[in-house]
């Protein structure tokens, strides 16, 4: 742009055009100054943040950097096969009586001769926590979202209350809910389910009501003209439009909740997260790697499955990006 604004071609400009050009160039200059100033401010914030983080950390970044891989070096199972023995609860040749190598005691017996390896069992618990809390959360969000959208609810008070409820539900830290319930109900999956459920209602509720607000209101007008009540309007005018998006968001949330229930497990919600934090805390390398591999496979599978399902249910449009929630 700079070279096109050279002196020669502009000399023939008329007075009006000249004014417009000057105005344009002054605006460009102001804009540049703003950009530079904001970049400088940004860099200062970044520098201060990094310095703060570094000084607040117990080990300093540059001091610790050479030892970065030490943990991984020291955290190596005796043989690569150990990982699979730990994964499938098979007896280990390194067994010395300590729980570190005693994998077989973890077996979960279904019948006298058939067992599920413990980690698979724990993984199943975690997955079920995620699925149950997603189902319950999506149902809750589904019920709430119609009361939060401007186009369906006339009363501002209802809308305001429902929206604030949703906000609190999704901003409330999951570990606090899980921790409080774990103190009451003792450690176990139920506190995790409730914690993830609370968060899911808040998060999905927001996405849902935004979809509802973007719905086309013409079918609603048609039904209203025919004398339909509120429930009928929601059921026959709004629901058919928004349901595909609801399903898509719920599937997306399932992926997120699988991770969330793992994390909550680590702070006392049962399932694979709890086993994981135990094994990493006790320095059981083979067990830890076995769980990481299982988690990796699970998360990839869940991602792929839900992507496939979404594509089948809603078609390609749900993958188009940046169009807003329509």
């Amino acid at each position: 742009m700079a070279h096109s604004a050279g002196a020669d071609p502009l000399s023939g400009l008329q007075e009006g055009s000249r004014t417009i050009l000057d105005h344009y160039q002054s605006q460009v200059r102001t804009r540049r100054i703003y950009t530079v100033v904001s970049i400088v401010v940004f860099l200062i914030i970044l520098g201060a943040s990094l310095d703060f983080a570094n000084s607040a950390n117990s080990g300093k970044f540059f001091e610790r950097l050479p030892y970065f891989f030490d943990f991984m070096k020291s955290f190596v199972p005796d043989s690569p096969l150990e990982i699979f023995r730990a994964m499938f609860d098979l007896p280990s040749p390194f067994s010395d009586g300590s729980i570190k190598y005693d994998y077989t005691s973890d077996r979960v017996w279904i019948t006298d001769s058939f067992y599920i390896p413990n980690f698979f069992y724990q993984l199943a618990i975690t997955l079920n926590i995620a699925i149950v809390s997603t189902i319950l959360g999506a149902s809750g969000a589904f019920l709430l979202c119609f009361f939060a959208s401007t186009n369906l609810v006339g009363a501002g008070v209802t809308r305001w209350v429902v929206r604030r409820i949703m906000e609190i539900m999704r901003a409330f830290p999951e570990i606090v809910v899980a921790g409080l319930l774990a103190a009451i109900l003792s450690i176990g999956p139920i506190s995790a389910i409730i914690a993830v459920w609370v968060h899911t209602v808040g998060a999905l509720g927001k996405l849902f009501f935004e979809v509802v607000e973007n719905a086309d209101m013409k079918p609603d007008e048609g039904l209203r003209a025919a004398g339909a009540g509120w429930l009928e309007r929601v059921r026959f005018a709004i629901l058919p439009q928004v349901l595909p998006n609801f399903v898509s968001y719920t599937l997306l949330r399932t992926e997120i909740n699988v991770r969330a229930s793992t994390i909550i497990g680590a702070v006392g919600g049962g399932g694979i997260g709890e086993v994981f934090s135990l094994s990493i805390g006790r320095d059981h390398a083979a067990k830890t790697y076995a769980i990481i591999i299982l988690l990796l496979i699970t998360v990839i599978c869940v991602d792929q499955f839900s992507a496939w399902l979404r594509r089948r249910l809603i078609g390609k449009q749900s993958f188009e990006f940046g169009q807003g929630a329509v």
């Binding site: 914030i45 970044l46 943040s49 990094l50 703060f52 983080a53 570094n54 607040a56 950390n57 117990s58 970044f61 610790r64 030892y67 970065f68 891989f69 030490d70 943990f71 955290f75 079920n128 699925i131 149950v132 189902i135 319950l136 906000e167 901003a171 409330f172 830290p173 999951e174 570990i175 606090v176 921790g179 409080l180 103190a183 009451i184 109900l185 003792s186 176990g188 139920i190 389910i193 004398g227 009540g229 991770r259 793992t262 994390i263 680590a266 702070v267 997260g273 994981f276 934090s277 990493i280 990481i292 988690l295 990796l296 998360v299 990839i300 991602d303 188009e320 990006f321 940046g322 807003g324």
Partner: protein, 450 residues
Amino acid sequence: MSSVPTINAAERERLLSAYPDVFHRSFMQRWGLLLISAAVFVYLAFCFAFFNVIPTFMNGNWDRAAIYVQDWYSWRAQPRLRFQNDQVVPQWTSRRQYPEGADINWLKPNADGSRYTITFGSDGNRMEVTPSRVDVYIGGTVYPVTITRDRASLPSDAPAQMEQDDNKVIVYYGFAGQAEIRTSQVYVQRRFLGWANFFFDTHSPFWGRSLPEVVGLMFSGERLDSNQSNASLALDNFLNNASWQHGDILSKLMQTLVMAFVGTLFGTLVAFPLAFIAARNITRSRAANWATKRLFDFLRSIDMLIWALFFTRAFGPGPLPGIAAIFFTDTGALGKVYAEALENIDDKQREGVRSVGAAPVTVQRYGVIPQVLPVFISQSLYFWESNTRSATVIGAVGAGGIGLKLLESMKTNSDWDKVAYMVLLILLVVFAFDNLSNALRSRVMGKKGH
């Protein structure tokens, strides 16, 4: 709805035969919803049994729940009134005790110090404690509890609020508190609404003063400490409040914010160029696309928590492992999202720039970036916002920040007021950042993208 017009049978038949495909519904359309609901219901019922929901709820310590919830908005003073040499001597447990010789309006000795009066709310609910006898007043009626060498015994006409438990007597005054009368001491729990000593702990010279008094002292009074002004002393006392630890909590909160900010920023900076390599329509090499996309998958699918655990081992607890964990997962997540945005761009603008002979980099700069930048920025802001929340959670596994503090307070099972305080702070910060990020996003995207 009587006003809705109905159609007669002949008209109905005509419509059905004229538009058969409109009225024909497949098996799944007819029964799908019902079948799916039934399956979900069966599944939930199975889980209900599998997770032992009813036994868990039955065995829950619900009385504990009530105490914890009360702890959120109240505090307990827990003196032990010991009987020593026929005297009653109050003793304070570790946290939030009163200083020696403090004048406490609900716990008063009489003139000769042999008898202490504890008031639970009103004058009718009080206890007169002497080493040999405790007079328990409930609603103005007195129930004397006699204490012998090996037993404190309930009077025969005691109400339900008083209870004999082995050789001790427990008195419940509801919210105001409770007391255990034992042979050697009376263990009192006195509950008050509000957060005690929230601003200044009992060791501070400002403790017990009213707000106008403190403000007056800060700006005009004589120096309480000759080394520093009253204002700075007040700030110092406030931040180093021994029971509330404001300074520590605020710095931990700051760590959480820094973790989210720096982690997301670095994630954005690294994902940005990589996304161009991952996008099929921009980099023509399939191998490069594939490799970058799998790298994103790898970074994303190992959970933030696991990265945090690994980095905690490397860097030690603190915000650095948190930053690194957020950076790694965000690079994966943002990279994927960016690459998808790039693959959806309108190709005409690129062609236009290319047709005037622009170099490849210039083509990207003027043909691609203007289209995707709003999406990129909006996504990064969205991740920043959600990471402010996640940073709390990964803090709990040792990555620093307020999460760790929160978990520690919960594990002690007595600091629930501090938990409430931290939760409030987190909620405030999350709301503030939600709004900030929303405001920035709607500026970037224009009205539509919000």
